[in-house]
Amino acid sequence: MTRVRIGVLQFPGLNCETETLRALGWAGVDGELVRWNEPATRLATYAGYVIPGGFSYQDRVRAGAIAAKSPLMDELARQAERGKPVLGLCNGAQILVEAGLAPATAAGHVDAALARNNIAGWEGYHARWVFVRAPTGARCFFTEGLAEPLPMPVAHGEGRFLFGDPAVDREIERRGLRALVYCTPDGEEAAAFPDNPNGSTHALAGLAGLDGQVLAFMPHPERAARLWHVPEDLPGPWGERRRRAASDFAALSADGPGMRLLRAFARLGARGGS
């Protein structure tokens, strides 16, 4: 049986391509890199798309702003509107937001921003493991059933979701685009640092777009794809699972928490989108 093919967009400065491809392979689909200067028409042949993390175009202007204007993204938008799933991780999320694909309350409208982290009066890059879960009422195709807290790392300087217009806020809530929120290890929505690692509005970690087939997600599920990725001292059930698996390579090679999301994405791709 031929495996589902996923286009992995490679803009200059991205740097998480390799582990993203690897994790997609673990999820049972074949990722293929599409370089920034390749013809955009190539994109049509894929069942879904991932934009990995990194520093596209050196974060010039704003993180994701330059890549968002590329011909590849115009084509990606067309494919997304046809219902194909699109997952943006970290810088990929910033690109999707800058391209107006999330939340996309109106087609092509940029109505959200990812602002500098704001951590107790301090701004800037911050890397740590956090917990995320899908809030009730989320209507994103990737995150159905992800109600339990999933640990994974964040590593970014600009991850704070901001909306200028309260109407957008309401629209996001109404349409269930608040796909994943930061939470405590026990699952309580996290308003403040450190469980909310960047001061994000409504504890948003992942914002869906269009009809839920697009997800702009700041954490890195591809770095939480195996149980051995999970820190041994992490609190909660995943930490417990990790500690029980210690000393056993086969057990440590089981799916990590990030695979819940990546497998959901792969399933969606396999169904040919929504």
């Binding site: 998480c16 582990e19 890397a127 590593a155 591809e222 820190p231 001292d233």
Partner: protein, 793 residues
Amino acid sequence: MIVPVGTLDDAPLSAALRELSLSLKLAEARRVAQLLGRDPTDTELTLFDAMWSEHCSYKSSRAVLKRFLPTEAGNVILGPGEDAGIVELAEIDGVRWALVLGHESHNHPSQVMPVEGAATGIGGIVRDIYCMGAEVIATLDPLRFGDPAGSNGERSLEIAREVMEGIALYGNALGIPNLGGDVVFDACFDDNCLVNVVALGLVRADHIVRSRVPEQARREPYDFILVGKATDWSGMGGAAFASADLDLAAAQENKGSVQVADPFLKRVLALANAAMLELARRNDAPIGFKDLGAGGIACVSSELAAAGEVGIELDLSLANLAEPALPSRVAACSETQERFGLAVPARITDQLLRLYNQTYDLPGISEGAGARRVGRILVPSAGEVPRYRMVRGGEVVVDAPIHTIVDGIRYERDSRDGTPARSPTPLRTQGRDLGEDLVALLASPHLCSRRALFQHYDSEVQGRTVLRPGEADAGVLAPLPGAAVGVAVSCDGNPRIARVDPYLGGACAVIEAARNVACVGGVPAAITDCLNYGNPEVPEVFHTFVAGVRGIGDACRGLGRMDAPGEPLPVVSGNVSFYNQSAHGAAIDPSPIVCCVGIVPDIARCRSLTLKAAGDGLYRLGAFAPQLGGSLYARWIEASWVGDVPPPDYAAIRAEIATVLDALRDRLAVAVHDVSEGGTLAALAEMALGPESRGRLGAHVDLAPFAGTAGAGAAAFGEAGAFLVEVQAAGTAAFERLAAQHGAQCAHLGEVVAQPQLHVDGLGGPPLRVPLARLAQARERTMPRLLARGVLA
């Protein structure tokens, strides 16, 4: 332009050299003229200035390194001599994999422009790894800053913050996980910080590329290709800058010597280089590949050719220069970042240029960047001496037998022991509250949590990280995710020990790095070192250097390879950084820094250092010693350098390492931590607290048997090397048998307990009872304060 070296007297020659910003000595300049048999051009003088700098030529250190350091062992694929060393990793599914190790310093640039200095330090060492054909899979940063509470405290902290920013800026953007390193604060670094950087690469053994023109160049025409950023003024004179005293006034002028980093271009270059290597393999085309560092185009082209015993001819007018009017000596020798030199068969030149310039669109990524053919390899006929020729249009700017350029020069430096006499007075701990001392040590800049620093670094990009900085004594990667094999890596160097005893400073750096790697189940495989010292022309300083190198060599032989009896732990690469002192003459304390890599047979053996379960046994592997010389306790609590450093016993250390490795393999040990700065009590506190100081399990131990022989202070805080091991309650008998089999000195200290406190009996007086909450608070509060702008501890 010809410089009439032969006819100028001292004063005008001196002025001429100064005019060109060269640091060649008069005798050296005249030696250039002698070698060439004529007056040199300004470009030739600039070229020799770079090639004969301490930084490039190792003119003071080479003989010492060669004499004392073991560089050969069964697992060494490539020892020192090229850009980085290479050791065996593992064979997986029929493919032999190897690790590439490099170590570099960027001390002077980081003192002057910390952000750029630290960033380009990473930039330089990763190029060294890439050009062996490898992927870069980790970096580590051993850092040394001035005393935060000292007279230069504010500046020292500013440098620390900016260095951290530079590391984050470059490493994060390039996508290389930072696996830690270490940080030391001491007044001896007030005017001269140390910013060392280690890089680790992964390569298939059959894909290794060498930094030399291949043999094949004798059978078909070869081109020289220059790839990367457009050459500009930046970094002009960088090699000479790294090889001189850091005079602060001059340092301001030297800002032009600090290079400008471009991680964005470098990231695309890394992709393009990987594609280039594949293209060369597909075409069955052996290539030579080398990065441009100090000495720029001239250095890279001459070394590539000389290593292949061929000549080379370049035309600077073919190179991509940032401005057409760039003087030849600058174009030839500037240290512009993000460039590589390649020697490739002419038959693949066009394909290769297309790959860089069109497929990866370098000119579109960075203005003026790209790949250009700038020269060709000249194969000498029999009996002919290979020549180095550089022209610019019609003008010859360099023409010399190639060996004169790369052979360098040597100096025999005088050495005189000037180690300060040691005070014989033992440290008095009677009447001290050792619990309070422990709290003070954990709150000190030396032992406080490094979390506030590490969280600015990406330690997980590439998805290979198993143990992050702070989780254990060594960082661990799964280099080939899906395979069980792991790589453990740790950097160490204790300037306090080296100050009291420069020889043991070298030896202990090796021992501690090897112990750290063993703590996570890594079998020490090789080391790479960075030797940071003062002015080698001062005999007392040179003595400390020779002693340190001797110590490193002795420790490498003394420890040896655990998995290959009789073989030394090989030194596969390294760096020497001299002239680390201010113009006022104060040299830094000797600072040999050692990075050890270990091979972990199965990453399932890697455990965090945090205590795991109440009821488990706590053991100490390693003898107690009464000496407190060079210890943090003596220095921090008593402000004294008292006495001797405990001497290492290599057979005992081997037995301890063997016990730890077997105990992790047999799942008896569930947490292992080495005893170093702060001694047994600090190590125990760190195990109870865990990486984020959230640990909830305490420990109850009795140190009476050791306090009796070593004294309470040494039992609590002595730094005689050892391991603390948490052993599963059900496995203590088996563990004790294991230690006995290996002949390791093994003491049962007590148990892990559910109460969140350290309970220590036997130190004289009432038992110590310190709540973990108190220790956590002490340990976590300091670094955020140090890193907060404008706030002193």
